[in-house]
């Protein structure tokens, strides 16, 4: 495995072929904020919070570190005025939906994001896709998926699959940075109560 030397925030970091910039940074203890990343899952690149500046030769570009692969002599800056500005805005946009998410609130503090900048549309879900992808890629059940697109996009449990699979799993619950997931599940359960009701309803 060929070692690749990259420089992240001035620090020399040894990385190996196939690693992403995020992984390289994490291995060197440099933290980059993420919302949609999970080490067991394929990079999704949806939240854009992990955006960084990379320089290859004279050419600087902004890329999301959870997807961008390391390459020789790459110079990475994980913070800059622009990066902070982008992260602040992303957090403010997300806080309109999940104003009480502790994860978002912590990050908001760090980046000076105003949680009340945009009118609240408390749908709770911030579309990180962790539950959807975990259920697909790790559990291979596809019990929860996205429906519709754009601003109407929502997570939704598929009742037929959820009725069979979810009771003994629920591994996605702790992944959710908000309370949306559990809410969606409870809703599905209530809508499909006949087929689900043979299970003890200890949740409520």
């Amino acid at each position: 495995m060929s070692d690749i030397l990259v420089r992240i925030d001035g620090k020399e970091v040894e990385a190996s072929q196939g690693m992403t910039v995020l992984e390289a940074a994490q291995s060197a203890g440099i933290s980059i904020p993420t919302l949609c990343h999970h080490e067991k899952l394929e990079p999704f690149g949806g939240c854009r919070l992990c955006i960084v500046e990379v320089q290859v030769g004279d050419w600087m570009k902004r890329v999301v570190s959870c997807v961008y692969p390391v390459e020789k002599n790459l110079i990475v800056r994980t913070r800059s005025e622009m990066i902070d500005k982008i992260r602040k805005m992303i957090l403010e946009l997300q806080l309109a939906h999940a104003p009480d998410s502790p994860e978002l609130l912590d990050l908001a503090q760090e980046y000076g994001a105003d949680k009340d900048r945009f009118d609240k549309e408390a749908s709770f879900c911030i579309h990180c896709g962790l539950c959807v992808r975990y259920c697909d890629e790790v559990k291979k059940k596809n019990a929860v998926g996205f429906v519709d697109r754009g601003i109407r996009k929502e997570i939704s449990f598929i009742p037929e699959i959820a009725a069979k699979e979810c009771w003994n799993c629920k591994e996605c619950f702790p992944l959710c940075p908000t309370e949306a997931l559990q809410a969606a599940f409870v809703l599905t359960k209530s809508l499909t109560s006949p087929p689900l009701s043979h299970e003890p309803s200890s949740e409520e």
């Binding site: 949806g46 902004r62 997807v67 992303i90 997300q94 601003i151």
Partner: protein, 642 residues
Amino acid sequence: MPRINSPSELEKLRQGILSDRDPEKPCITLCSGSACHATGSGDVAASIETEIEKQGLSAELDLRKTGCHGFCERGPIIVNHPEESCYFQIKPEDIPEIVSQAVKEKGIVERLLYTDLNTDEKIINESEIPFYKNQKRLVLGSNGSIDPKSIDDYLAIGGYSALEKALSQMTPEQVLEEVKKSNLRGRGGGGFPAGRKWEESRNAPGDIKYVIVNADEGDPGAYMDRSLLEGNPHSVLEGLMIGAYAIGSHEGYIYVRQEYPLAVENLTIALKLAEEYGFLGKNILGSNFNFNIIVHKGAGAFVCGESSALMTALEGRAGEPRPKYIHTAVKGVWDNPSVLNNVETWANVPLIINKGADWFTKIGTEKSKGTKIFSLVGKITNTGLVEVPMGITLRDIIFEIGGGIPGDKKFKAVQTGGPSGGCIPENLLDLEVGFDELSKAGSMMGSGGMIVMDEDTCMVDVARYFIDFLTDESCGKCVPCREGLRQMLKVLTNITEGKGNEGDIKLLEELSEVAKEASLCALGTSAPNPFLSTVRYFRNEYEAHIKEKRCPALSCKELITYHVDPDKCQACMICARKCPADAVDGDKKKIHIIDQEKCTKCGTCFEVCPSRFGAVNKISGESVPPPIAEEKRIITRKSKEK
């Protein structure tokens, strides 16, 4: 039809087709593209057939149903050969005369000819009509002369000679070099040099490589790709085959919107014929080159036209953009090198191979070569598809080809590049059309949409309209696009409704910056353009909406009021009768007053008030004059009653 196995067999076949055809034999060509079909070219075709039968002319007169001629607004279109006399807006009842004139030497149906708007002169030939005269129809031109369902028609105009040349006289490297030298840039979006993309794929590791036609054409109002596929499908196939040969690909895909049934039909026929003739399959023209093409019907959203989304859709998954920093030319469909080009890009390839890169680079500007097809719509006299040389000015397109703005209105802006393009104002009308020129002006070439706007168009509302479209079409995967556009739409809607705040422009600029910098795909990174370009050139309109609650174009409903000028009102009752909200109070001889509480601002009164009175005003940003006193409302006419 036996398979053609060599270049010489192809030439023999071509000579055979040509010698069977008499160029002097009268032939009626009828546009049968989707647009003309919608205006009745199917019925016209049927009457031509009946009439030929009736007049006993089947031996002397041919009928050819062709693809789109571009001047769709005036369809159905007929061109009679060899005179090339052309007729517009043909109805079945015109046919007996057209048919009987068609077989006469220099026979013309005078009354159906095109009349020049300025000189009132009748024009016989298509090429003399202003709409066509200033075009350079290299790619679209053959549409009018061939039946897209006939491969012999395509062969008769030299079809597949570029493929033959590439396979028999050129190495793949030479083909690639020629395309690189031509500096052909992508016609579907970003204007990326096709040759560079091909080279990247050719050099990428892997035995399986794909070439793909992007025929998703999601821009509302754009239909150049549809017209090409419907009218001249073989030219796209031939381009794809040549590209495949250059890249080392043996499998091609055509990703075409399901909503294009005629394009799919003509493509399917073309593919079948090309296979029968031996232009597809194994050992094409005896060259050892093997190639096949699969048509993939897409039913996806606008974003499915984006390259990574399209490739995901080809793999049979939901067409969403993928976050990748490796070019699809290196890792595309199923991670194999995949070259995706637009329909029009591919259709240029046979021309370049046949006539050479040196010929091609003589057309256009320094960095944008060849021609571009635009779909010209909006507040313009001649709408339709126009193909122009790069470097032509916007002014020439709009005023020479398009015939200017109808109804004595003033030009305000032209929106180019599709929904995420931008608006270009009047003082830039002399801008030369090219990829970089349009980008520098804050717009883009995109796939060639061109919407002309007149003085009645509110530029804030235009921005709102396009951001609304894009918000709807965002796939929702990434935050800067999904959430950023959601907020931008809210702010823009507020501004057009008179609820704008100080600071809104700055907020929109910040949201734009983040969407541009941080979105995952080009939908998000280009989505702010409608706002950015309008605020760049029409900032005063934004400010008027926000600060004065005034819409300078008198277009935003919430910011205008209709008012009857008591000095002009003749108490004719027309508006009072037509008002659907019953908001006009008045009587015969009693000056009308609009009840602002009831008024829904539909504008009916404004439209129906006789122009010689012109008594209804639109007011914005100022208070409505109080209604006149009841006693002053009675008109005593100086009567002229006979």
